[in-house]
């Protein structure tokens, strides 16, 4: 037996020595008259009209080209995409999340700058799809982290729902009032996957950091030992210790459990999203749309100027191995055309990258978010490398359980950020 095993191992090693890299990304998923698109949206009913409009727009210029959308499950999407890329059988057009998700994979993508120049002014959110000055995808939606609040709970607590607190101290006081009079916690938070801290950092960042430090952070000059940054992570810890969060935060999933706490009136606030999930339209299925408020992050440091944190949400890029880059780029332009995005906004409730689209039919929350776009800034966590975001998730759980200190956590994050 051992002898046979040894020979197997020798064979493995010989085979190893004989072969080269496992990668050979030189073939296309499509052909000259066919484009393959991978996403995790085309299976959703709320995306049907959006894709129909995009197909129609593309067909006007390319009537003979077939477009095939392949919907993948989101929780496996990047795993499947990575395997496809490594196998050299990737799709032509690929849906990405903005930030680290696409930047980590930019070497598999075609720079689109020359193809999408005509969309530059019409769309916003490009930075999330940019690396080293090159654009790798066109934004479809904007993704950000508004602070939603339940106006009905404010009313029941005797607070003015149209004038939420603007300072942190007043906010905490209001939370105590709401808890006393309604039994609801201040925040609905889920940190089971470690993403609670991402939402918190980006939502509260502009209420703690000065505008200059905020801008420096998103520009890559991050001082992890500054008092402001330390204050954000201290707040994360203190909010939980003070009982402002729901119980069991580290075992509560953000999707859908934390949002369910808000929707069911058990939490007065939630740091949600503004794309097409975990947002005002989802909440409006359970709450009266007029009761869903959006407030600026309460000011912690008077030197700070709160702003809406947002970036490009999802966007389509083109694989560098596609046979006809111009053709694939045309499809990307159709997928970000005004008509298609208007349909996506109406059906999925997404705040799209085309800010010319009217969202007022969505109610006060959508209107408030749209109003914040002009003065908004990129979210703090989106600027971080994926490995640092991953580490931050685990450290945020340790901060809540008390098994690490803010200083220790920040030292680890700084080292990870430096290493990239």
């Amino acid at each position: 037996m051992e002898q046979r095993l040894s020979w197997s191992f020798v064979l493995v090693l010989v085979l190893c020595a004989a072969c080269g890299s496992a990668t050979a990304p030189d073939s296309s998923g499509g052909s000259a008259d066919r484009l393959v698109v991978w996403d995790w949206k085309s299976g959703d009913a709320t995306s049907a009209a959006y894709l129909d409009r995009a197909r129609a727009d593309f067909a006007k210029g390319h009537p003979d080209v077939e477009v095939e959308f392949v919907a993948q499950p989101f929780d496996q999407y990047y795993t499947l995409l990575g395997a496809a890329v490594q196998a050299g059988r990737g799709p032509d057009v690929i849906l990405f999340n903005g930030g680290g998700r696409i930047r980590d994979r930019a070497d598999s993508l075609l720079p689109l700058d020359e193809y999408v120049a005509g969309d530059r002014q019409r769309l916003v959110g490009w930075d999330a799809f940019t690396k080293d000055g090159k654009t790798y995808a066109s934004p479809v939606t904007l993704q950000g982290h508004p602070l939603y609040y339940d106006k009905a709970l404010y009313e029941r607590a005797g607070l003015d729902p149209d004038a939420p607190a603007t300072t942190w101290d007043d906010f905490v006081e209001d939370c105590r009032t709401i808890a006393d009079r309604t039994g609801a916690t201040c925040f609905g938070v889920g940190n089971k996957e470690g993403i609670g801290i991402q939402f918190f950092l980006s939502c509260m960042g502009s209420a703690v950091l000065s505008p200059a430090e905020y801008d420096a952070w998103t520009a890559g000059k991050r001082n992890w030992t500054s008092p402001g940054v330390k204050r954000i992570f201290e707040l994360w810890q203190q909010v939980d210790a003070a009982g402002l969060n729901n119980d069991g935060v580290n075992s509560t999933a953000m999707f859908n459990d934390a949002f369910a706490l808000f929707q069911s009136g058990r939490a007065a606030h939630v740091i949600g999203l503004m794309s097409d999930v975990g947002h005002w339209k989802d909440f409006a299925e359970f709450l009266d749309p007029d009761d869903i408020g959006v407030m600026a992050a309460p000011v912690v440091d008077p030197a700070a100027t709160p702003s809406l944190p947002y970036d490009g949400g999802i966007g389509y890029g083109v694989a560098k191995w596609t046979r006809d880059p111009a053709l694939a780029a045309d499809l990307v332009r159709s997928l970000t055309s005004t008509g298609a995005l208007a349909a996506f906004s109406a059906d999925a409730g997404a705040i799209t990258s085309d800010t010319g689209i009217d969202v007022s039919a969505g109610g006060p929350a959508a209107t408030a978010i749209a109003a914040g776009i002009k003065t908004g800034k990129p979210a703090l966590h989106v600027a971080l490398p994926s490995t640092t975001v991953d580490l931050m998730g685990r450290l945020s759980q340790q901060l809540l359980s008390g098994s690490t200190t803010v200083d220790e956590a920040l030292a680890q994050l700084a080292a990870s950020d430096r290493a990239g």
């Binding site: 069991g248 075992s251 994926s386 991953d390």
Partner: protein, 275 residues
């Protein structure tokens, strides 16, 4: 013979070799570039991977419990406790459930505001954060895994009992042996090979089949306390786009499995000689 060898080489050894080879290349900008043992050095320096390996050690320690439960239940069934036919079906039933379904069910049951904590509250005990406390979560996940999978081991034990000479049990009963005495002196020696087989298959199951539960129940958390190598590999490959590092971790897991497998083969062979 030759076609068999070709099939084994093409479908087993060649993919394995590609994976091992890939572990010696870089990720990101170094994609496809040979980097020697760098990925293995990264693994050794990564506290997350060390945690995952540490949890493998914990599983080894918990293995006797995972084997004892189906063993004792199979003993009870074999000794025909009242309702033994029902128990046989009920115990086996979770084995046909998907780990994702099992995970979802127990995520609800073990939730901080879930029914188990409600029950504890009724009897005056405080709530336990079963899936959010880093000291508790790994035991909760392993416990659910054992619950979900012991039915198969129980079937193996029952098959083992069918080979046990009934006259030995009759003799023990006539001699007035207690149940613990019967277990120790008749059943355990008589089922030695079955027990060892269940040890081997349970260990392999724990190391390679807990991904679904981890994914659904804890996502590797809290604080990475429930990470296992398989989950680490998935995160590196799928979430962080580091396939070469994931390949190195896969190779490391393969070596761990090989060591465990060889140890088990040795034990079984020794038991066979003794038999």
């Amino acid at each position: 013979m030759a076609p068999t060898v070709l099939i084994v080489v093409a479908l087993r050894l060649w993919p394995l070799a590609l994976g091992v080879n890939f572990s010696f290349t870089g990720d990101g900008d170094l994609n496809g570039t040979p980097v020697g043992l760098d990925n293995y050095a990264t693994l050794l320096g990564d506290p997350l991977f060390r945690t995952a390996l540490g949890n493998v050690g914990l599983l080894v320690l918990l293995l006797p419990v995972a084997v004892a439960i189906p063993g004792l239940l199979a003993t009870a069934i074999h000794l025909r406790v009242p309702g033994h036919r029902v128990y046989r079906a009920v115990y086996f039933f979770p084995a046909v459930l998907s780990p994702v379904i099992v995970g979802a069910i127990f995520t609800l049951l073990l939730g901080y505001d879930g029914p188990l904590n409600d029950l504890l509250g009724v009897v005056g005990l405080g709530p336990v954060d079963w899936l959010g406390d880093p000291d508790v979560a790994i035991f909760a996940v392993v416990g659910v895994h054992v619950w979900a999978t012991f039915g198969m081991a129980l079937v193996v034990f029952l098959a083992g009992f069918s080979t046990l000479d009934p006259s030995l049990l009759d003799a023990a009963r006539v001699d007035g042996a207690s149940l613990p005495q019967t277990l120790r002196h008749v059943i355990v020696p008589g089922l030695a090979r079955t027990i060892q087989f269940v040890f081997a298959t349970t260990m392999i199951g724990m190391l390679t089949s807990m991904f679904g539960l981890l994914f659904v129940m804890t996502g590797g958390g809290p604080e990475a306390s429930t990470y296992l190598p398989e989950y680490y590999i998935w995160v590196q490959q799928g979430q962080l786009d580091r396939p070469a590092l994931a390949s190195a971790a896969s190779t490391a897991l393969f070596l761990v499995m090989l060591l465990v497998g060889l140890a088990q083969v040795g034990v079984l062979r020794r038991a066979g000689r003794e038999g």
